[in-house]
Amino acid sequence: MNIRYFAWLRTKVGKAEEEVSPPADVTTVGDLMTWLAADRPGFAEAIGRKGVVRAAVNQDYAEPDHPVKPGDEVAFFPPVTGG
């Protein structure tokens, strides 16, 4: 699974991208966030603040109950501020 981080979440986690292989019981975006948070304190802190982290699966916005599977590209980022 390819994980991507953007904006201040990227600087919090300390990397823009990583390959991970979560256990089989990680089946949703929410599961993945909890699993990633376990040994990424910056990520844990960010998702602890409500409403500041958004997710996308394969380049579409995804809620915490959205499924994830091996091979997916999953991105985490703050609310967008373009335009």
């Binding site: 991507r4 980022f77 703050p78 373009g82 335009g83």
Partner: protein, 164 residues
């Protein structure tokens, strides 16, 4: 009506608003109305005259791939809702200085209301749906711009009745 000129560009280089608008309607005699919106880097935050909030530069980070996908979806949605003859979205990424353009959206239609409304729709939706993030450089440390409720409200007025 099929739009005959749909274009999405995500680029680092600056662009010439006048040249882009000219290209939109070049050689055509069927367009009655062109509406455009240009977003520029400005040298202050919040209220004008606040001397503690000067902006020296702005850096736009984006999510390559997802950005193009979302902009294409936004443009397609505008074409579904309004009878457009042409539409254009250009959005830059990277570092830029005050006075430089960040984004241009433009729409063309036989009729004024369709051009005006679809242009406002494009920029309002883009603001809340296209994966870009602004980093401001001022006097001190660079800081990430916070998302604004007013942007969510502006986008919400374009929500269709069957959307939650």
């Amino acid at each position: 009506m099929r739009s005959t000129f749909d274009m999405i560009r995500v680029q680092e280089d600056a662009f010439d608003v006048g040249a882009e608008l000219a290209a939109l309607s070049a050689g055509r005699t069927d367009i009655g109305a062109v509406a455009s919106f240009t977003g520029l880097v400005r040298d202050f935050v919040g209220q004008e005259g606040g001397d503690d909030s000067k902006i020296a530069a702005l850096t736009l980070e984006h999510y390559p791939g997802m950005t193009e996908k979302k902009l294409a979806e936004i443009e397609a949605e505008a074409n579904r809702r309004w009878p457009l003859q042409a539409s254009l979205i250009i959005h830059r990424y990277g570092r830029m200085l005050p006075g430089e353009p960040i984004v241009l959206v433009a729409t063309a239609s036989p009729h004024r209301a369709a051009a005006l409304d679809s242009c406002a729709f494009l920029i309002d939706w883009l603001k809340t749906k296209a994966p870009f993030w602004k980093l401001e450089e001022g006097d001190g440390e660079a800081s990430w711009v916070d998302a604004r409720d007013s942007d969510d409200q502006a986008a919400a007025r374009w929500r269709l009745p069957d959307e939650s």
